[in-house]
């Protein structure tokens, strides 16, 4: 068990190093002078400030130093939690900006992923039972999975937000309010959260439902199910087994889909101008704020790695076969 986890952790660590390295390389190996292009795009008008910033960025980029030193100092900064200072919000540190956006992104992502997975799986298992449901849910599911996140988000923003006017279509809370722990602010948060959440939830839902439905039908044809039925086992028992067995590939599927879902979340945020990491990516791209961009990518990579690790652990806990293989014999 621990050997297995150790091996996994090693792979994750390696992935992290590679991601950081690529992240470090991108602005440095892009054509042109990164500092110049960054500052010229950034709307800095005060010449004195520009001077100070140029000096600062030249120093942190350390463009005069040899490459390996630049690389090492980048890592050193990383471990100090120092991801540099944003151009866009100069002189605010990148980490602070990101940490402000992360809760919004997580508040969208985590419920959307978890709920769509749970609801989708139960829906799919349920659909596998009845022809009528199957004939309606399946096509609907295919349409939903084929829908790009952005497109559905736009559709929802337009229909529920603009036409029906039920929900706001931009921002994380009403700009008329100041953040605080009062009900008015919280309800504003919820109302602004709902549409982006819903559009992500709905797109992901179809895929899980279809996956589960197909897996269950496959499981119900499996030898163990046939055998149980031959021995007169009630449908309930057979279905319970089939559901449990069908869950395992769905957990793996979650790990595989994670990247797509996160990309979807970032795009959805952009559509709704939701103050999470997605919107921040767009802003920093527009302003050539490489430090901010780098920081966001690092956060996303770390987030994906952590989530994958959690899924790995859950899988091991749920599938007796991996558990048995790891402990090497009976347990």
């Amino acid at each position: 068990m621990w050997r297995y986890m150790g091996r996994k952790l090693f792979v994750y660590a390696l992935t992290f190093v590679v991601a950081v390295t690529i992240n470090w390389m991108i602005p440095r190996f892009m054509p042109g002078d990164p500092v110049r292009s960054m500052l010229s795009r950034g709307s800095v008008s005060d010449p004195e400030a520009l001077e100070r910033m140029t000096a600062y960025y030249n120093e942190v980029f350390g463009l005069d130093a040899p490459l390996h030193e630049q690389y090492l100092s980048f890592w050193a900064g990383l471990f100090r939690g120092d991801l540099g200072i944003s151009v866009m919000f100069y002189p605010e540190p990148v980490v602070d900006i990101i940490l402000r956006a992360v809760p919004y992104t997580l508040a969208l992502l985590v419920p959307a992923i978890v709920l769509s997975w749970i609801v989708g799986n139960h829906f799919g298992a349920f659909a596998a039972r009845s022809k009528v449901l199957d004939n309606t849910i399946l096509p609907a599911g295919y349409v939903l999975t084929a829908t790009p996140y952005m497109w559905l988000a736009l559709l929802m923003a337009w229909s529920l937000g603009i036409v029906a006017g039920v929900f706001p279509t931009a921002g994380g809370y009403s700009f008329a309010l100041t953040p605080g722990a009062n009900w008015e602010f919280v309800s504003s948060l919820i109302v602004h959260w709902f549409l982006p959440f819903l559009s992500m939830f709905v797109v992901a839902l179809g895929g899980w439902a279809i996956g589960m439905r197909n897996m269950i039908i496959y499981e119900l044809e499996d030898d163990y199910a046939t055998y149980l039925r031959a021995l007169g086992a009630p449908r309930r028992l057979v279905r319970r087994y089939a559901f449990r067995n069908a869950m395992l590939p769905q957990i793996t599927g979650l790990a595989v889909q994670l990247g797509t879902i996160i990309t979807g979340a970032l795009l959805t945020e952009i559509v709704f101008n939701y103050p999470g990491l997605g919107t921040l990516v767009l802003d920093s791209l527009n302003n050539r704020d490489f430090f901010l961009l780098q920081g966001i990518f690092l956060f996303v990579v770390v987030g994906v790695l952590i989530a994958n690790f959690v899924i790995d652990v859950v899988y091991v806990l749920i599938d007796p076969r991996t558990r048995v293989q790891m402990t090497g014999g009976s347990s």
Partner: protein, 317 residues
């Protein structure tokens, strides 16, 4: 007499039409009888076995009756069959190696199945352990997952599980095919032991292996293309087969006791397709003794006490 099957017809529904897999099969099984069921691949052995316990979704009961211990067996009625399954009729399937739920510990799965069938697991716990030991398994297997057992062990677990409620009729479908020779022998012997101890009253033992069936079965039934060719005591089937098909089947054997495969190569030709089977004797196209009359289906007649044959040459005249 415990089992009577009378003119049973079970077809598979397919897009291209009905497959006449069981097409008028009649036989009886005495209490305590182990009947070996042999015949070339595709002749309907598994279909007959499944018909007696559970028709799958494609199978359709077309005609004929089944009677077990004096009561009719409603094989076409899935719900009415439920009380009989496991309690009265049980099955060791052809796929016994994969018949156990991979993500449940074996003991827990058995408990759940028993409870679902209205049996308290605690009432059967001692018996379960005793029988596992009888087939050479430690009770420890109950705490394991199927993946931790060898194929032969899984086979034996399924054997014990299938017979745990002492069914009147057990259908053992190719239980030895996937095993090595010595394991085959011990599995077959365990089944005889189960019968001797009364765990099962009577048994249909489906196999390709005529030499193995000769050692454990009391009677042998030979099927050909959905029909019964011949049924009789194992000795007389092997030593003096009446039906031309049985004769050829046996002469194609290298020698009784050997277990090499491909023993049916000796009969030229292939069995007829069952989608649109020929009329008359189904063996006609391959039978060296065929004559005009064989265009009519030969009846199954008793040529000696307990020995039945369906051939115009051996009984019909």
């Amino acid at each position: 007499m415990s089992l009577h099957v009378n003119d049973l017809k079970v077809h598979y529904r397919t897009l291209r039409g009905d497959v006449h897999a069981i097409d008028g099969v009649t036989f009886s099984l005495e209490d305590g009888e182990i009947m070996g069921l042999v015949g070339e691949s595709g002749c309907g052995k598994s279909t007959l076995g499944k018909s007696l316990i559970r028709l799958d979704s494609q199978m359709r009961h077309v005609g004929g009756t089944v009677e077990l211990d004096g009561r009719g067996v409603p094989i076409a009625d899935d719900d009415a069959m439920v009380p009989l399954r496991y309690h009265e009729v049980s099955l060791i399937p052809q796929y016994a190696m994969s018949a156990l739920n991979p993500i449940r510990r074996i003991g827990r799965m058995i408990d759940e199945l028993l409870r679902a069938r209205g049996v308290r697991p605690a009432d059967k716990a001692d018996e379960l352990r005793r029988r596992l030991e009888l087939v050479g398994l430690e009770p420890d297997v109950l705490r394991r997952f199927p993946i931790e057992l060898s194929g032969g062990m899984k086979q034996r677990v399924v054997m014990v599980l299938s017979t745990l409620l002492d069914p009147s009729l057990l259908i053992a479908d190719e239980v030895t095919s996937a095993l090595d020779v010595s394991t085959q022998r011990s599995v077959a012997e365990s089944l005889v032991e189960f019968r001797d101890r009364g765990y099962v009253r009577s048994m249909v033992f489906v196999t390709h292996d005529v030499s193995l069936v000769y050692q454990i079965a009391d009677t042998i039934m030979v099927m050909y293309a959905g029909h019964v060719a011949e049924k009789g005591p194992a000795d007389s089937i092997v030593s003096e087969p009446r039906h031309p098909y049985t004769q050829m089947l046996l002469s194609a054997l290298p020698e009784v006791g050997s277990t090499s495969g491909e023993r049916l190569q000796g009969i030229p030709g292939t069995p007829p397709g069952l989608l649109d089977p020929p009329t008359g004797c189904r063996f006609r196209a391959r039978c060296p003794m065929a004559f005009d009359k064989c265009a009519e289906r030969p009846p199954l007649v008793e040529t000696a006490p307990g020995h039945w044959s369906a051939c115009w040459k051996t009984g019909g005249e």
